[in-house]
């Protein structure tokens, strides 16, 4: 490994008329790490990846991949880089194998046996002679991964690889990505699923409307996440809310006809006991969104006031 970053973007911007799709973002992906780009639809993740692959040109900023840039090195920037943007697309009138042969041909040819090897890795052996038109969505996603592996990449870029897959497909795709990552590949994974990124990635950039809302480690993000919320309905919510305000270490808010409790498990247990002793009936008690997921929504949907100071600072740093 050298000190060269796998991806180094600084002040990268892209505008479409009045719309700023990506607003002066900076991203660094170190070699060998599994890096997540997280954000809701329209946050600018795919626009960033399109700029990385040269499909669109940035209006401002610098983008280097393994120390190479589009302006200086042309398509050589993609040496050792592979992946797909949104859902991978192929020629439907050709077989899976023929598609892979075609794409390998555009890379100067594949080493002997490599096509069979990658078909095996993505579990398409036996289906490779069928036309892609007959493939399921999940099979096309896996063929996309196979087409990427054909390039024998050092950096694998996957844009929402589990998007549109059924639960079993999502499980298989995540397992595949984790195994690829554990082989030493640098992986840049774009997703709108916090759970997926949390399971796979070491570092993450969270994007919001073209800007970086957070940039740092998953561990640091986890530290800043609010406690797990409990959602509660009672026979008398105003009275329950009043009781909650008297209890230290417990934050309660009334939303959508229910109460959201945040605090330690002991504080929640004690509060519920208090409610019952006060003669209030519990109508329902469920777990709210996971802490990281809650933080993700805070970062991407709320105003900056709701976001922990430590995290807003990280976003401003990444923007610079």
């Amino acid at each position: 490994m050298t000190n060269t970053q796998a991806v180094q973007a600084e002040g990268l911007s892209k505008r479409y008329g009045e719309l700023t799709a990506v607003d002066a973002i900076s991203v660094q992906v170190a070699q060998g790490e599994v890096y997540g780009m997280l954000g809701p639809n329209g946050a600018g993740k795919t626009t960033f990846l399109r700029m990385l692959f040269g499909l669109i040109r940035p209006d401002a900023g610098v983008l280097e991949v393994f120390g190479r840039s589009w302006d200086r090195d042309g398509t050589a920037i993609l040496d050792g880089v592979a992946g797909f943007i949104e859902s991978p697309r192929f020629y439907p009138y050709l077989s899976g194998r023929r598609n892979l042969q075609l794409l390998a041909g555009l890379d100067g040819g594949a080493a002997a046996g490599l096509i069979e090897e990658v078909l095996d890795v993505v579990d398409l052996t036996g289906r490779e002679s069928e036309k892609v038109a007959g493939y399921s969505f999940g099979m096309r996603q896996r063929l996309g991964v196979a087409a990427s592996l054909l390039r024998e990449p050092r950096l694998l870029v996957l844009d929402e690889p589990a998007n549109g897959l059924d639960p079993a497909g999502i499980r298989d795709m995540r397992a595949l990505v984790q195994r690829l990552a554990s082989s030493g590949l640098t992986v840049l994974l774009s997703s709108h699923d916090m759970d997926e990124v949390e399971q796979i990635c070491d570092n993450v950039t969270i994007m919001k409307r073209g800007s970086v809302a957070y940039h740092g480690t998953i561990a640091r993000l986890r530290e800043q996440a609010p406690p797990q919320a409990h959602l509660l309905r009672t026979s008398d919510d105003p009275a329950a809310l009043e009781l909650a305000r008297q209890r230290p270490g417990l934050a309660v808010t009334a939303t959508d006809g229910q109460l959201a409790l945040r605090g330690t498990q002991a504080a929640v247990d004690l509060y519920i006991t208090t409610l019952v002793r006060a003669g209030l009936s519990l109508r329902s008690l469920t777990l709210g969104e996971a802490p990281l997921e809650a933080l993700f929504f805070m970062l991407t949907e709320s105003s900056t006031d709701a976001v922990p100071d430590a995290l807003t600072h990280s976003g401003q740093e990444a923007r610079r």
Binding site: F53, F84, Y93, L94, R98, D107, R179, G184
Partner: protein, 299 residues
């Protein structure tokens, strides 16, 4: 998921992918225009409509010759009155017919679709995330479209002339000035007449390419050149020999008439080649710059 390869990937960081990465560093990652061109031909060969068209241009002319044999000669068309007298007249009759709209259609079926189909299938991002540049892809596709147009012209010429001569015979041809042209000269002139359409065919191919790139719509790419060709023919038929008529892409398709007069004149042929090359250059320039500057935001 197959367990074994995934276990390999997970279990041994140095094994397949990692070593593959080292191979990538050692092996040059450049395919170039010719590799892309070769694969464009493979893609074309896999399309049913492409194969059907090539078979069609081989099979249809003999059927037309046979069908015309049993009918009264179309005396009101160029060389029509002589179709039963000489096997060299019918290819010229068919050439006159083909230049109206068949040639633009034959070439635009591929050229009008070859760029736009990437938009239709969403495969631009698949192609352009490999080791080929937009410039290489552009020239590969352009060459493939020209190759197809040339193949269509050669097969159609060969099929028409061979079937006509075989079925009707090698009798002398009556020229446009009423002169008799011997079989040997007639063969050369008929082949030259068909070959003269290569330049306008190139122009129509380039026109279809620019429509394919700009509209990103295969239907418009295919139909556009046919409609524009008909409009040009209409404008050209309004009379006059002014600069507008000379500048039309459809006019050189009729330049071969000068080969069949008692005193041949080649001016329209030479002028037509210049006009077609100008159309080709302008269309390809706009197509190339459009593709180079384009943001690939969809396919």
């Amino acid at each position: 998921m197959s367990a074994q390869p995934l276990t390999d990937l997970a279990g041994s960081p140095a094994a397949p992918r990692q070593s593959a990465g080292h191979r990538a560093a050692a092996r040059p990652r450049s395919a170039g225009t010719w590799a892309a061109y070769r694969w464009e031909l493979v893609k074309l060969a896999a399309l049913v409509r492409t194969r059907a068209m090539l078979i069609g241009v081989l099979v249809v002319p003999p059927l037309v010759v046979l069908a015309l044999q049993g009918q009264r000669a179309p005396a009101d068309t160029l060389f029509g009155r002589h179709v039963h007298d000489s096997g060299f007249a019918l290819p010229l009759l068919l050439l006159g017919f083909a230049t109206q709209y068949v040639f633009p259609l034959l070439t635009s079926v591929v050229a009008g679709d070859i760029f736009a189909s990437e938009d239709q299938h969403g495969t631009w991002k698949t192609l352009l995330t490999r080791s080929v540049s937009r410039t290489q892809i552009f020239w590969a596709k352009t060459l493939a479209a020209i190759t197809f147009a040339a193949a269509v012209l050669i097969l159609l010429t060969a099929s028409t002339v061979a079937s006509s001569v075989a079925i009707i015979g090698r009798q002398p041809l009556t020229g446009l000035s009423g002169q008799s042209i011997g079989a040997a000269s007639a063969t050369g002139l008929v082949l030259a007449a068909w070959a003269s359409t290569a330049a306008p065919l190139l122009g129509f191919t380039a026109l279809a390419i620019v429509l394919s790139v700009r509209t990103r719509n295969p239907s418009l790419g295919v139909v556009g050149p046919v409609v524009l060709g008909l409009l040009m023919s209409l404008v050209g038929s309004l009379g006059g020999t002014g600069w507008l008529r000379r500048a039309l892409l459809s006019t050189p398709l009729e330049a071969w008439h000068g080969l069949f007069t008692a005193t041949p004149f080649y001016g329209p042929l030479i002028q037509g080649i210049g006009v077609c090359l100008a159309w080709t250059a302008v269309c390809l320039f706009f197509a190339y710059t459009s593709l180079r500057r384009r943001d690939i935001t969809g396919g």
